[in-house]
C-alpha cells in the first residue's frame, strides 16, 4: 500500500489539546520524513502519549492539522488506522488468546485475506523469536515477551508508520537492547518509526533525529549529537568543603563554575567542564587551606536538563531550529 512519496510520513501543525482546561499540548508542530526513526523525547507528563493518541485517532484534538502519509487524521480516521501500527504504553493484547491467536485476530481486524493471515503470523512469530510461545496464552508470557508480541502485533498489516510508546519501559537491560535491535530492524525495512521515550541514551542510540517535548511544547530538535552538545553544557558537581567559604568566592576563583548554590552543607556547581572544574576546586581549597570532605559528579538528571532547556526556551534563545 504505497501513497505518494513526496509527502511526509507524519505531519503535525499547531496541535493543541486541553484536558478540562489544562493544556497538555500547546501548539506542537513537527514533521517526520519517510523512513525516518524519530525519537519523541520528554519527561513524564510532557504529552507524548497524548500526541500518539491523537495521531492514532483515539483522542480528539482541540485544534491543529494532522496528516499521516498525506491522509487527514480528522477526516479519514479509518484510512489512517490502516496505514499506522500502534504499540501503546501498556502491552494490551488479549490475555486469553494465544500469541498466534492474537496475531491472527489482528490480521482479521486489518482485513488480511485468510491465507495471508496464517503465513504472516508465523513469519512474525519467527522474526520476534516467539515461535516456541505461539500456543501460549498472552497472559502467561513474561513482560519482555509481552512487549515483543505487542510490537509484533502492530506489524501484522505492514504499516507505513509505526508508533512506539515507550517500548522499553520496564524491561531489563538485555531485553531492552534486544528490543531496540528489533526496532532498528523494522526501520531498516522501510517503516517510518516515531518512538517516545524519556531515556536520552535510547533516543541517541537509536534515532537519527530527536524532538524534545516539555509541558506540551517542542523545545529542542536536532540530531543526537546536536542535542548531546547542548546537554553537555549542563554538567554538575556536588562539593562539600570544611571551613568558611561562600558561593561567590567559588565562582570567582573557579572559571569553569558557571553557577553555585548551597544545598544543606553541600555546594551544587553548574560547570562547563567537569575535569577542569575539579582541578580548580582542588587548587582553590589548597590555597585557602580548606578540606574537601567530598566531591562527586552530580550531572543533572534528564529532567533537570529538560527544565534547563525549557528555561532557555522561555528566555528566547532556544527553541526549535
Amino acid at each position: 500500500m504505497k501513497t505518494e512519496h513526496n509527502l511526509a510520513a507524519i505531519s503535525v501543525r499547531g496541535l493543541r489539546k486541553n484536558y478540562k482546561g489544562v493544556p497538555a499540548l500547546d501548539g506542537v508542530t513537527f514533521d517526520v520524513k519517510r523512513g525516518e526513526l524519530l525519537a519523541y523525547l520528554g519527561p513524564n507528563g510532557a504529552g507524548k502519549t497524548t500526541t500518539i493518541n491523537i495521531l492514532s485517532g483515539l483522542l480528539p484534538r482541540d485544534s491543529g492539522d494532522l496528516a499521516v502519509c498525506g491522509v487527514d487524521v480528522a477526516k479519514a480516521p479509518v484510512r489512517v488506522k490502516q496505514l499506522i501500527g500502534v504499540v501503546p504504553e501498556e502491552s494490551n493484547l488479549y490475555p486469553e488468546l494465544t500469541s498466534r491467536g492474537n496475531l491472527l485476530y489482528v490480521g482479521e481486524l486489518y482485513g488480511l485475506p485468510r491465507a495471508k493471515r496464517a503465513l504472516i503470523a508465523d513469519q512474525i512469530l519467527d522474526q520476534f523469536c516467539l515461535s516456541d510461545k505461539s500456543n501460549m496464552p498472552f497472559r502467561t508470557l513474561s513482560r519482555g515477551m509481552k512487549r515483543r508480541l505487542t510490537i509484533a502485533a502492530a506489524l501484522v498489516h505492514s504499516p507505513e508508520v509505526l508508533f512506539l510508546d515507550e517500548p522499553t519501559a520496564g524491561l531489563d537491560v538485555q531485553s531492552a537492547r534486544q528490543l531496540r535491535a528489533h526496532v532498528r530492524n523494522i526501520n531498516q525495512r522501510g517503516t517510518t518509526v516515531l518512538l517516545t521515550t524519556h531515556n536520552l541514551l535510547e533516543a541517541s542510540e537509536l534515532c537519527t533525529r530527536i524532538l524534545i517535548l516539555i509541558k506540551g511544547r517542542i523545545v529542542a530538535e536536532g540530531s543526537a549529537s546536536e542535542i548531546a552538545e547542548r546537554l553537555d553544557k549542563a554538567k554538575r558537581l556536588a562539593v562539600k568543603l570544611s571551613g568558611d567559604v561562600d558561593e561567590a568566592q567559588l565562582r570567582e576563583h573557579c572559571p569553569s563554575v558557571m553557577g553555585a548554590r548551597l544545598e544543606g552543607d553541600t555546594f551544587i556547581l553548574d560547570v562547563i567542564d567537569t575535569h577542569s572544574a575539579i582541578a580548580e576546586v582542588v587548587s582553590f581549597s589548597e590555597k585557602r587551606s580548606l578540606q574537601i570532605v567530598h566531591i562527586r559528579s552530580a550531572t543533572p538528571s534528564l529532567e533537570d536538563t529538560f527544565v534547563k532547556i525549557l528555561e532557555e526556551h522561555d528566555a528566547g534563545d532556544g527553541g526549535p531550529r
Binding site: 483515539l58 488506522k81 501503546p88 482485513g111
Partner: protein, 243 residues
C-alpha cells in the same frame, strides 16, 4: 475486506473468549428454569401463559449482561483500545459486540424454550413470530447493554445501571401478567416499553393468544425500537471513545 466481515470476526472472537465458560450458560438458565418450574407446580394447567414472559426475561437478562461484560471487561483490560486502533468504524465494533451478545441471549432463551417443549410439553403455535421476537428482542437488549457499558467503567457499575432499567421494564411490560389484565393506570406505560412488544411476539408464537391480533404491529414497533437503540448506542460509544 468489508466492515461487515470485520464485525463478524469481532463476534467470533468474543464467542470464543467468553462463551466457552460453562458457568455462564448454567447461571443464565438456572433462575428462569426454577421460576418456570415453580409456576408449573402451582398451576399446571395455565403455566403456558407465563412461559413467553419468562423466556423474554431470560432474553433480557442474557443479552444485557453479556453485552455489558464483553464491553466493560475489555475496557478494564485495555484491550478495547485494540478495536479503537483498528481500521474499523464504531458501527462495526457495535455490530460485532452486539451480535455476540445477541447470540448468547438467544441461545439461552432457545435452550429454555426447548426444555419447556420437551419436558413440559409446550407447543409453538407459529414459530415465525416467536423467532422474530427473539431476534428483535435480542438486538434491542444487547444494544441497551452496550449503551450501559459505554457509560461506565466497571462491570458492577454496568450491572447496577442496567438493573435500574431491567426491573422496571419487567414490571411494566406484561411479563408476568398479560397486558389485558394489567391495572388501567399501568397499561399506557406498558406501551412505551420495548419489552411489551417482544413478549407479545413470543406469545403470538407460543400460544397464539396475544393482545395483538397479528405480529405485524409488534414487529414494526420492535424494529423502530431497534433502530432507536442503535442510534443511542452509537452516540454513547462515540462519547466514551472521545474521552
Amino acid at each position: 475486506m468489508s466492515q461487515l466481515h470485520r464485525a463478524l470476526f469481532i463476534s467470533r472472537k468474543d464467542i470464543r473468549s467468553y462463551y466457552g465458560k460453562p458457568p455462564l450458560i448454567t447461571w443464565a438458565l438456572l433462575f428462569p428454569a426454577v421460576l418456570m418450574l415453580a409456576i408449573y407446580v402451582r398451576n399446571p394447567e395455565n403455566y403456558l401463559n407465563s412461559a413467553p414472559g419468562i423466556i423474554a426475561m431470560t432474553l433480557l437478562f442474557g443479552n444485557t449482561s453479556m453485552a455489558a461484560i464483553v464491553l466493560t471487561f475489555e475496557k478494564r483490560t485495555g484491550t478495547l483500545q485494540r478495536l479503537l486502533l483498528a481500521p474499523v468504524s464504531s458501527g462495526t465494533i457495535i455490530l460485532g459486540k452486539s451480535l455476540s451478545a445477541m447470540l448468547y441471549g438467544i441461545a439461552t432463551s432457545l435452550v429454555l424454550t426447548l426444555g419447556l417443549m420437551l419436558l413440559l410439553g409446550m407447543r409453538l403455535a407459529s414459530p415465525a413470530p416467536f423467532i422474530l421476537g427473539l431476534l428483535l428482542g435480542g438486538g434491542i437488549f444487547s444494544l441497551l447493554g452496550l449503551t450501559a457499558a459505554a457509560l461506565v467503567r466497571e462491570v458492577f457499575e454496568a450491572m447496577t445501571l442496567m438493573n435500574f432499567i431491567r426491573f422496571p421494564i419487567l414490571f411494566i411490560s406484561g411479563v408476568f401478567v398479560p397486558i389485558e389484565s394489567l391495572p388501567a393506570w399501568l397499561k399506557p406505560i406498558a406501551f412505551i416499553s420495548p419489552m411489551t412488544y417482544v413478549v407479545e411476539l413470543l406469545r403470538l408464537g407460543a400460544s397464539g393468544n396475544s393482545y395483538f391480533a397479528s405480529p405485524l404491529i409488534p414487529a414494526l414497533i420492535s424494529l423502530a425500537f431497534l433502530a432507536a437503540a442503535w442510534k443511542l448506542t452509537v452516540f454513547a460509544f462515540r462519547r466514551q471513545a472521545g474521552q
